[in-house]
Amino acid sequence: MNPLLATLVAVFLITFLAAPTMGAGWFWDTGNGIGFAAFAGLLYLTITSNRRLDVRAHQVLSYAVLLLVIGHAFWFLLGDATAVEFIKFGAPDYMWLGIVSLILFIVLVTTANVPDRLRVHKTYPSFKYWHRVLTITVIGGAAYHIVVSNFYLGAWYQALLFAIISIGVCLGRNYWIRLGQIAIASPAVYLALSAALIVAFTGIRNLPA
């Protein structure tokens, strides 16, 4: 199976393992579907990062992932006037970690591009090290944000599976680098597959009773 499709399907499939028809209404389900697609994109960017990485393709796809990350946040902020109250002081820790992950992802993307990269990192190994550390932090924070918000991953085995794939992607680098060169999907393909899965995710959860 295409690695991008496999990653997207794996993330969305876990949400359907328990209570597959439980929805929060089309508005919230679409917004959260965008979030799941963004998280899958983040995992895919990490899996495909090996020694033969096509840097330009990786960079361009990261912009598409960033678009969905920001889209996920703005969807709620613009569509539900109450949602903003959930990210102010006193918000639950999983919301704060979601915001921290979003900000760190922006830092991750912007500090990876020359000439900004050269301003931040004196050497290439230093850049690689911090890029990896930031990636693991972003995935960890986003996974916590998703799992602990406890809506689509309500069953313990869903949370466990989600944690396993997140940790596996973060710590399985020794395996990923042996995969050889994987042609990185274009942003158009990523966004089209994401759109199809978001529609399915929202549609199934909002079928008439």
Binding site: A19, T21, M22, G23, A24, G25, F27, W28, Y63, I70, A73, F74, L77, L78, G79, D80, A81, T82, A83, V84, E85, F86, I87, K88, G90, P92, I106, T110, N113, D116, F151, G154, L207, A209
Partner: protein, 122 residues
């Protein structure tokens, strides 16, 4: 790219401070139910919940803690107040979500504004 990101972050800041320009209803924080800090308004209609067992919410019938409307204790008692948001989110949202999981129209499980309207229903 940097310009786009700066614009997006500025827009996010403006939405956080001034609220959404396109969302129709906006809740107003205030000292409802004599709460010590401003809280969001809430809607609850008993007549929409007549099929539920009273004890599900009115735990005081069972454990003899407090009495009268929920907010008598939940916004004014020092021990309970810090748990206010989590307790009501857990109680209300989980019940609505369970109904959604069973394909029953049980009201809004997560659309915040649906509950934080503040109309004073009986």
């Amino acid at each position: 790219m940097k310009l786009v990101l700066i614009s997006v972050l500025t827009a996010a800041g403006l939405v956080i401070v001034f609220g959404s320009p396109i969302a129709k209803e906006k809740p107003v924080r205030d000292f409802y139910y004599e709460s010590p800090r401003p809280i969001l308004p809430m809607s609850f209609a008993h007549e929409d919940h007549t099929t539920e067992n009273c004890i599900l919410c009115h735990h005081n019938y069972n454990d003899d803690t407090g009495g009268g409307p929920c907010m008598n204790c939940h916004t004014t008692t020092q021990e309970v107040w810090p748990l206010f948001e989590r307790q009501f989110h857990d109680l209300c949202r989980s019940c609505h979500a369970e109904k959604a999981a069973d394909n029953i129209d049980g009201g809004p499980p997560r659309h915040c504004i649906e509950c934080h309207r503040g109309d004073d229903l009986p």
